[in-house]
């Protein structure tokens, strides 16, 4: 049911005049935008504020504590109390977790790049025998249950003293980042036109020289993006970390759930929320910075 006349009347004044749309549709659209924004942002904002004891529920009800099925609900308290944030940032708790995450992510991503880039290059450039086997193994690793690899690894690393050490945790995280790195970088290599390789080959460059001097410099931006992307994956990862880390290497993601201190405990809910918000902010900034490449990263390079 559309009214053409109304559409025509409205269209010349609008920037989007080509659409024969009614004003009511426009209103509906803006409502949808507001709702979608609330849906995306409200949970995160609510948690960030809850971490400071700023409970939005206070808008609707006075300050009271209600028990529903044994769970205490702050029925609102407009008492700004950033103690959880201050606690997290001082006493060296949060900074120590960040340091651990940075070191673990750094080792894992750089290892993945060093062993992965040559593979991406080979997969993107030539059809060698066994190429499909390599692809299959890497894809399979992307979908394997962490328990099939990480639990035996946990026992193995315990035996040789690598459990709760930076290299040990980082090696375990390769299960997460290796396939992603290989596939993402492969996509960047595949974007190089074939003629460039031919020209380099014609002018007498060896395969080694073509890789180092021609192909690698052309994908350096892609490699940086891949590294950042792989790092966020490790930053947000929980299951492998909680099995492979102890008091010494405990990273941010584990600290969010089991307390920022070295030993695990059930933290207060406000502490959880403050730590979760602090962990979310850098991840969100970095993700927005590379957002053009997120589809590529999460789809193993299938989406452009």
């Amino acid at each position: 049911m559309k009214s053409q006349d109304e559409g025509k009347a409205a269209s010349p004044k609008q920037a989007t005049g080509r659409h024969p749309e009614r004003r009511g549709n426009r209103l509906l659209l803006y409502t949808a935008f507001i709702l979608a924004t609330l849906y995306s942002l409200y949970p995160i904002v609510a948690v960030a504020l809850d971490g400071m004891d700023l409970n939005l529920a206070a808008l609707f009800a006075g300050n009271q504590l209600v028990y529903i099925a044994g769970v205490p609900f702050h029925q609102g308290a407009w008492t700004f109390n950033p103690i959880a944030y201050v606690d997290a940032l001082t006493f060296n708790a949060f900074p120590a977790r960040v340091t651990n995450s940075l070191i673990i992510g750094g080792i894992a991503v750089s290892t993945a790049l060093v062993v992965g880039i040559p593979v991406s290059y080979a997969l993107a450039r030539v059809d060698i025998k066994g190429k499909s086997v390599v692809s299959f193994v890497l894809l399979a690793l992307r979908t394997v249950s962490p328990f099939a690899v990480v639990v035996p690894l946990y026992i193995f690393f315990n035996q040789i003293g690598l459990w709760d050490t930076y290299p040990g945790v980082a090696l375990a995280e390769l299960l997460l980042v290796l396939t992603v790195v290989v596939w993402m970088v492969k996509g960047f290599f595949a974007d190089i036109p074939k003629q460039i390789y031919e020209a380099a080959s014609m002018s007498g460059a060896s395969e080694g020289q073509i890789f180092r001097r021609v192909a690698l410099p052309m994908v350096i931006q892609g490699i940086v993006i891949t590294a950042i992307f792989g790092f966020i994956l490790v930053w947000n990862e929980y299951l492998i970390s909680v099995i492979m880390t102890g008091p010494f290497t405990k990273p941010v993601s584990v600290g969010v759930w089991s307390g920022l201190g070295a030993t695990n405990k059930t933290p207060d809910f406000v502490e959880l929320e403050a730590a979760g918000t602090l962990a979310f902010i850098p991840a969100a900034i970095v993700m927005l910075a590379i957002r053009k490449y997120l589809a590529k990263g999460f789809s193993l390079g299938a989406a452009k």
């Binding site: 559309k2 920037a15 995306s40 409200y42 949970p43 995160i44 609510a46 948690v47 809850d50 409970n55 529920a57 609707f60 009800a61 529903i68 769970v71 609900f73 029925q75 290892t111 040559p118 593979v119 080979a122 060698i128 894809l139 399979a140 690793l141 979908t143 394997v144 249950s145 962490p146 328990f147 099939a148 690899v149 990480v150 639990v151 035996p152 026992i155 193995f156 090696l171 290796l178 966020i232 930053w235 947000n236 929980y238 299951l239 993601s253 969010v256 929320e273 979760g276 962990a279 979310f280 969100a284 993700m287 927005l288 997120l294 589809a295 999460f298 390079g301 299938a302 989406a303 452009k304």
Partner: protein, 296 residues
């Protein structure tokens, strides 16, 4: 100019050389643990080869419970991510001011760590405010968050919430490679933007092997979901019990290993993890096919 056979051979060897480092690393951190896991799953309590761990798994009601939970959770959350993602795609492709900013806002849930998603959609965060609003403003009675009809859909929804932005980004990338003329033609025939979305964008996105690949990957990832169910096991009081409706496969295995009263049943956990490799092999095969049809 054809390369001589020797040179060609040398070149071939060069490519295999590039695969060597990854093979070395994989051997230590993936293949060896996998093989060790298979060995553990085949070892009886007194040593020696046995299939008893597998028969124990097949007879385990809690195992089948978590298979059912994982399949339901994964189907629900993947379907939700697709629907929500397509909805966001529709919005950001409308010609409104500041749609780039909205696109950025809509991406944010994806930046939250899954454990954070378990916290933000938990009873004490979003639902606390929601309860107060519905009770004090709308005058409704409090709803029980510990009821399965509440928490299971919320769990699946929050998983969908986190990954809907990915579906949006992939849809947008597919739309960019759809010829613009199709939309032009539809517009000239008087199709509204909703009709264009329904009749052109949705079929193009869902029919694309890229989207199918991403959907499959998401489904597999949701099958391994751990953090959101872990947080909900705390919210609704299933921290130390197994066989509950929040026990996805990963959470069940985790509980078996880390709750002391289960006595660290490593062989059985290994048996389940190895049995799950079937899922891995099937999904990796389909993914290879899809990647082949994408030409990547």
């Amino acid at each position: 100019m054809e390369p001589t056979p020797e040179r060609k051979k040398g070149v071939q060897a060069y490519w295999y050389l590039l695969l060597l480092p990854i093979f070395a690393v994989l051997s230590v951190v993936e293949f060896y643990p996998l093989a060790y896991g298979v060995y553990l799953s085949l070892t009886g309590p007194t040593g020696g080869l046995t299939l008893s761990n597998y028969s124990q798994m097949v007879a385990d009601r809690n195992f089948w419970n978590s298979v059912a939970v994982s399949l339901t959770y994964s189907s629900f959350s993947t379907a939700l991510a697709i629907v929500l993602g397509l909805g966001l795609t529709f919005l950001v492709t409308q010609e409104v001011k500041g749609r780039r900013i909205f696109e950025a806002i809509f991406i944010l849930p994806m930046a939250a760590a899954p454990i954070m998603v378990g916290i933000v959609w938990g009873p004490a965060a979003v639902w606390d405010d929601f309860q107060t609003f519905s009770h004090f403003v709308l005058g409704l009675p409090y709803f029980q968050e510990v009821q399965i009809l509440f928490y299971f859909p919320v769990m699946a929804f929050s998983e969908g919430w986190e990954w809907a932005p990915l579906m949006m980004l992939v849809s947008l990338s597919i739309m960019r490679s759809t010829p613009k003329e199709i939309y032009e033609a539809a517009r000239l025939h008087g199709a509204t933007s909703w009709q264009q979305f329904k009749m052109i964008t949705v079929p193009a996105v869902l029919g694309s092997p890229v989207m199918q690949f991403v959907i499959l990957l998401r489904f597999i990832d949701a099958m391994r979901a751990f953090e959101i169910p872990l947080s909900w096991s705390t919210w609704v009081g299933f921290e130390t019990s197994v066989g509950s409706p929040v026990d996805t496969l990963s959470l069940y295995l985790y509980k078996l290993l880390f709750i002391p009263s289960f006595g660290f049943p490593l062989p059985m956990v290994s048996a389940i993890a190895v049995a799950l490799l079937v899922v891995t092999l099937v999904s990796a095969t389909i993914m290879m096919r899809l990647l082949g049809s994408i030409g990547r």
